[in-house]
Symmetry: C2
Subunit: 205 residues, 2 copies
Amino acid sequence: MARTQGSHSGITGPKVREAALCLFAKDGYAAVSMRQIAAEVGVQAGALYNYTPDKQTLLFDLLKGHMEELLEARAETPVPGCPARALEQFTRFHIRFHHERPEAVFISYMELRNLTPENFEVIEGLRRNYEDQLEDILRRGVASGAFDVAEPKIATMAVIAMLTGVNTWFREGGRLSLPEVEEIYWHMVRKAVTAPQRIESELTA
Amino acid sequence: MARTQGSHSGITGPKVREAALCLFAKDGYAAVSMRQIAAEVGVQAGALYNYTPDKQTLLFDLLKGHMEELLEARAETPVPGCPARALEQFTRFHIRFHHERPEAVFISYMELRNLTPENFEVIEGLRRNYEDQLEDILRRGVASGAFDVAEPKIATMAVIAMLTGVNTWFREGGRLSLPEVEEIYWHMVRKAVTAPQRIESELTA
DNA sequence: GTCTATATTACGATAGAC
DNA sequence: GTCTATCGTAATATAGAC
């Protein structure tokens, strides 16, 4: 056991990504140096380049990994046929998934401008895929008469902005629990998109 | 007229703030150097320090100026007594005001973490003042029976997140005009907070 | 796989001439 | 009020020893 410095642990790669995630979320990509990340991991700056070709790729891999996790989690969840049920499920899923990884969510929309144009396109494509899933639900609801939404694309942006906003103020241990918050947001989303005459009938059954 | 370099125009101060605003919005505070700002203005880096003691103060002044403009614009607008009308006015005001200054809006929530703690507190206070105005409208509506909002604080955050989100996707010259967008968002906000039985009666009068 | 050392470049801020 | 020049520091990334 002649190891006295550095990581040597075989899990330095994940530790680098985790340290970068936390530091980027706290101080911003541009304000964080490779030396800071290295210090957090417990190695020297040069050693980081065994795990990433450069700082840009480190950021890109974090964002790409996050978006892929999001899409995989959605793919594993069966979507109800009833548009109202599907929308409720999307609402709760979004709040819960984003609550569980605040750092990744934060950098995923704060650090987009620090991506190279090519990397940005990749992340944008993944993000659009996710948004399309909500838009499909809204369009199905409009077709069935359950929803009253003039512009599904805009309603999609509005709902996602509203739901993602939870991360900016919600703190564990506060006055409300996360399930309570889910419930409140679901009520608002439902009312915002539901055709008037249905609010108190089948949708609350 | 022996002037061959630099600004000397008597309006260098505003030009510095404008250049900093645009560059901070495009690349982020941490990624923008004083030399870049100076180049945009047409002076050397050292000359900037005639207009700001340091880079931090430059950012702070931009954010503070933006929030004060926002609060002044609200103070000049009489708020209708009817909660539904007040909410409609707030909705349209927010979308319009934020649409007119996308750079200032952008840095006002992207660069908060680059403020010193003391400067952050100041901006937070101004922001809370604005949010309280919406919360008051919602509480008045709940008291009058016009609104059905379980948690006015949360509804406030939800509505503001939703409305501010317009800036992330709306582009002049697209399929929809800003007044049309205003209308769509107002419908969604109204439905989200209105007591069910009122949606089609007095509020659409 | 990590270290030390370094090449190269850039940063914020200041001093003093004009 | 702006210039030029510079101080002191820190950045990304690489080279070569171990």
